[in-house]
């Protein structure tokens, strides 16, 4: 069931907010011991809140499409009186005294918080294999990673433990778990969603957004998260006005053939409902990724400098990255920010000829837990670098990007397609995504 379907069921009295919440809590009780999507479950307060929202509906107060919808927050988003660990030993006992604004907004919209979802330690990684809170597992294949860093959010949404989960994305951390778990993930334009009260990682790269089961639900979630919807450009009147660019360089090399085929099929599907698809040459993505890595290494290490004396409190992979960041000279960080601006200009020029870039989200389906390397075109590549290869650059640009399922591998693992648009053109992504989702559902059932 989607958020929109649940809303219809609520308003026709076929189900209550409490029943929806209990259904999700049952799913959590059944699946979380095996998949480890949640660090904290707030069962008692969720049920009490759902009952209060049922009373509101009975009294004629309807808060809108999220009224009574059970959701989860990534456990680096501050929740008043509910432990917020950031997946780290450093913050194992941290209990915020106020909600982050995004939590306030979703609660005001009527959402029921079920608890806090697990993540890669400090959101600094893509496996969600957490040394402090345990390994999060992919619901399609529990021996495989759900991706990260918002791994628990991806699993919660994919399994019906929650209708919506919040995520953060500094180098792909919403879109990667969306791709590996077979759900929708939206990384909005940089700065569009208020990130106050959220544990930062890369101050000039961090984005906040939703993971949901459908594109329409992602639109509902985004609308509730915004401080100022007027910043968004209007939706196109029809998909026929949308120009998709299909990259002829970078994005379709060094990926597994099943992913390449599924994404190219998605482009052909879009053409069938009237979108214009043209081949385009994209600017230097390798340079964009290098810039993103340098900036993140330096910014993350700057943030965690006060904790460097507590080396034993970090997992090995995160500590290694923090050590690398400490050795990035300020001159290189500043030059990375200068190159960044130049690359943004090059992408703006590309987007004067297209409205949307369509690419794979990840070059592979979900790797095995603990897998250090993946094979791409006969070459062994570090799993983290391979997994972030197609998504990291979008954080450097700050452009919005949507990942949605577009098929599955022979093994039944989800494949994600990524759509990237100009800043504040989230509506275009949502209109295109919904149309593609509908058309693909005629031939594929991704979730």
């Amino acid at each position: 069931m989607t958020i929109l379907e649940a809303g219809q069921a609520l308003r026709s009295r076929r189900v209550s907010c409490l029943e929806l919440t209990d259904h999700c809590l049952d799913q959590i009780a059944k699946l979380n011991p095996r998949l480890n999507a949640f660090i904290t479950v707030t069962e008692e307060s969720a049920r009490a809140h759902a009952q209060a929202l049922d009373r509101e509906l009975a009294n004629g107060r309807d808060r809108g499409p999220l009224h009574g919808i059970p959701i989860a927050h990534k456990d680096l988003i501050s929740t008043k009186d509910v432990r917020t660990t950031s997946g780290s030993k450093l913050f194992r006992d941290h209990v915020p005294t106020v909600d982050a604004p995004i939590v306030e907004k979703l609660t005001a919209a009527g959402a029921v918080m079920l608890g806090k979802t697990g993540l890669h330690e400090l959101a600094y990684g893509v496996t969600s294999d957490n040394p402090h809170f345990g390994t999060i597992r992919n619901p399609r294949a529990p021996s495989r990673t759900p991706g990260g860093s918002s791994g628990g959010s991806g699993v919660a949404v994919a399994t019906g433990m929650a209708f919506l989960a919040t995520g953060t994305d500094t180098g792909g951390s919403i879109r990667i778990p969306a791709s590996f778990c077979g759900v929708v993930g939206l990384k909005p334009t940089y700065g569009l969603v208020n990130r106050s009260g959220i544990q930062p990682l890369g101050l000039s790269l961090d984005h906040i957004g939703p993971l949901t089961r459908t594109v329409a639900d992602a639109g509902v979630a985004l609308a509730a998260m915004l401080d100022n919807a007027a910043r968004l450009r209007p939706a196109p009147g029809s998909c026929q006005y949308i120009r998709i660019g299909l990259p002829e360089n970078f994005y379709f090399t060094h990926i597994v053939s099943e992913v390449r085929d599924a994404v190219q099929k998605a482009a052909q599907t879009a053409e069938r409902f009237g979108v214009r698809v043209t081949q385009v040459k994209v600017p230097d993505i390798d340079a964009l990724n290098d810039v993103g890595r340098i900036i993140l290494l330096a910014e993350a290490s700057a943030l965690y400098q006060p904790y460097f004396s507590r080396r034993e409190d970090f997992g090995a992979d995160v500590l290694a990255l923090l050590d690398q960041g400490r050795l990035v000279p300020a001159t290189d960080y500043i030059n990375a920010q200068r190159i960044r601006k130049m690359l943004v200009s090059e992408f703006c020029a590309l987007f004067s000829t297209i409205d949307c870039l369509l690419t794979p989200t990840t070059p592979t389906t979900a790797p095995l837990i603990g897998q250090k390397q993946v094979e791409l075109d006969g070459e062994m590549v570090d799993t983290r670098l391979a997994t972030t290869r197609l998504v990291r650059g979008v954080n450097v640009l700050g452009f919005p990007a949507l990942s949605m399922p577009c098929g599955q591998s022979a093994e039944g693992l989800p494949i994600g397609v990524q759509m990237i648009a100009r800043p504040f053109e989230e509506h275009l992504l949502l209109v295109l995504g919904e149309a593609l989702e509908l058309e693909l559902s005629r031939t594929t059932r991704p979730s």
Partner: protein, 53 residues
């Protein structure tokens, strides 16, 4: 300069990862015109709603 708190064995493992990355970035930086601005300047406008919490 402050004494590094990073253990020697860690520094040895960092070099092969970080050095090629820095070398590529520096090669890119050499192509920048002197007046090239920083992206941080334009990003400031995107965070205008930060309330300090």
């Amino acid at each position: 300069m402050l004494k590094s708190e990073i253990p020697e064995d860690q520094i040895e493992t960092i070099g092969p990862i970080l050095n090629p990355l820095l070398a590529r970035l520096r090669a890119q930086a050499e192509t920048l015109p002197p007046q090239a601005d920083s992206a941080l300047v334009y990003l400031l406008g995107a965070t205008e709603h930060e309330d300090g919490r």
